[in-house]
């Protein structure tokens, strides 16, 4: 595969060639097996990317199912109408970006609008009779919303659970307690976001929201910018939040 091939193939796929170029291209496809192979591989790669794009779009649509509609209350009636029109125009011209209208919200309101509890941890079933008891108790308390009790067991969870997974749920427990402890929540979520962890992206998202809730708006914006830039977990929501004028 060389770049020249690639450019030519892409122009053909996109229908950017003149009829003469198309004829030459198709002639080459018929008579040059290496070129044909390269063409087919590129075409397949394009199809894979298109499918991945659809998957991403669908994933983002789930956020509409989960985002409370109350979020829109923060826009005045006139702006709401504008938002609808802008969004309709955006899709009509094929834009993938969403709302462009700024609204005013307090940091706390933003948190309430965007915060969704993360799935509870899984209980580990083993027949050996040991090994994950503390973790399982923690998971059960967490699922039942008893975050203080969950924390007691997370702290002594067994070593077979990766420490970042435990810390992630410790952070969320501190955040969701009746009297949340934001500094501990931030501490644990920060630990996870700085590690190589399967929950790194999620930790980053909840870290940003916790900063908002804790009134550290500027720091939260920095993390949200990173999420939006790197298109990690909930990056579309991060982008949305960045468009809001957050009142301190």
């Amino acid at each position: 595969m060389n770049e020249e091939f690639e450019i030519e193939i892409e122009r053909y796929i996109k229908g950017e060639m003149s009829s003469e170029e198309v004829m030459n291209f198709e002639h080459r496809l018929e008579h040059d097996p290496e070129f044909k192979e390269s063409y087919e591989a590129t075409l397949a790669a394009h199809k894979v990317v298109e499918e991945a794009g659809r998957q991403e779009l669908k994933y983002n649509m789930w956020s509409y199912e989960n985002t409370p509609k109350k979020q829109k209350k923060t826009f005045k009636i006139g702006k709401r109408l504008i938002v609808t029109i802008v969004a309709s125009i955006a899709i009509l011209i094929g834009m993938s970006t969403f709302l462009n209208i700024k609204g005013n919200m307090s940091a706390s309101e933003v948190f309430e609008a965007y915060y969704q509890p993360y799935d509870p941890p899984s209980v580990i079933r083993d027949n050996s009779g040991g090994g994950s008891e503390n973790w399982n108790r923690a998971a059960q308390h967490y699922a039942a919303g008893n975050y203080e009790d969950a924390l007691r067991y997370f702290e002594i969870a067994e070593d077979n659970i990766h420490f970042t997974v435990v810390e992630f749920y410790e952070g969320l427990s501190y955040l969701q307690m009746d009297h949340p402890d934001y500094s501990n929540a931030l501490y644990y979520l920060n630990e996870v976001r700085l590690e190589q962890s399967e929950l790194k992206e999620q930790a980053n998202w909840y870290y940003a929201l916790t900063l908002l809730k804790d009134g550290q708006t500027n720091e939260a914006e920095e993390v949200l910018k990173e999420i939006a830039r790197e298109r990690t977990y909930n990056h579309r929501w991060a982008k949305d939040i960045l468009k809001i004028d957050i009142e301190n």
Binding site: K47, V48, M61, L92
Partner: protein, 170 residues
């Protein structure tokens, strides 16, 4: 997008549910219709005079009818399709294909995933992507896109089922 989603979701889901669908099937179908609609807009398929909601409704009706038919005939064919796969030709099921795509794209890294999806799926001009992201200029982004595509093709070689993806087009 969100406004269109919210304005049409309930009507279309109600249609599916009242025609033997479950809530989950209805949501899934509605989201797929939104994507079909988005794809058509991107391709510049001239929209008829009808409103967006009428177009979505029409896509949904035809898609749901297809899914219902498929549902009715899928069970007797299930064992046959497994045998075909044992022949080694590996026509992936839709679910397998989606899983492999998720896996392969996950291996690409954030930059590549972002660049390729924006360029190829959303058809966002390179200039616009360069101005939004961490790319000094359009040429650097073009080079990066080429590298990413190359990487994707290499990853696909280990997944021959995906190389046949073009054959599964409707």
């Amino acid at each position: 997008m969100e406004a269109i989603y919210r304005a049409n979701r309930d009507i279309i889901c109600a249609y599916v549910v009242s025609n033997s669908g479950t809530e989950a099937e209805a949501t899934d179908l509605f989201q797929d219709c939104m994507i079909q609609f988005y794809d058509a807009v991107k391709k510049g398929v001239p929209s008829e005079d009808s409103a967006i909601s009428a177009q979505l409704y029409s896509i949904a009706k035809s898609e749901w009818s297809k899914r219902l038919n498929k549902k009715q005939i899928s069970e007797p064919e299930e064992s046959q399709s497994t045998e075909i796969r044992r022949d080694g030709l590996i026509p992936l099921t839709d679910e397998e294909r989606q899983d492999q795509i998720r896996e392969i794209i996950g291996l690409m890294g954030f930059d590549c995933k972002y660049i390729l999806i924006e360029c190829i799926y959303h058809k966002t001009p390179l200039k616009e992507i360069a101005s939004e992201g961490n790319f000094a200029n359009e040429q650097l982004l073009r080079n990066r896109k080429f590298e990413c595509l190359k990487k994707l093709r290499e990853l696909m070689v280990a997944r021959p089922g995906l190389l046949k993806i073009t054959e599964s087009d409707e």
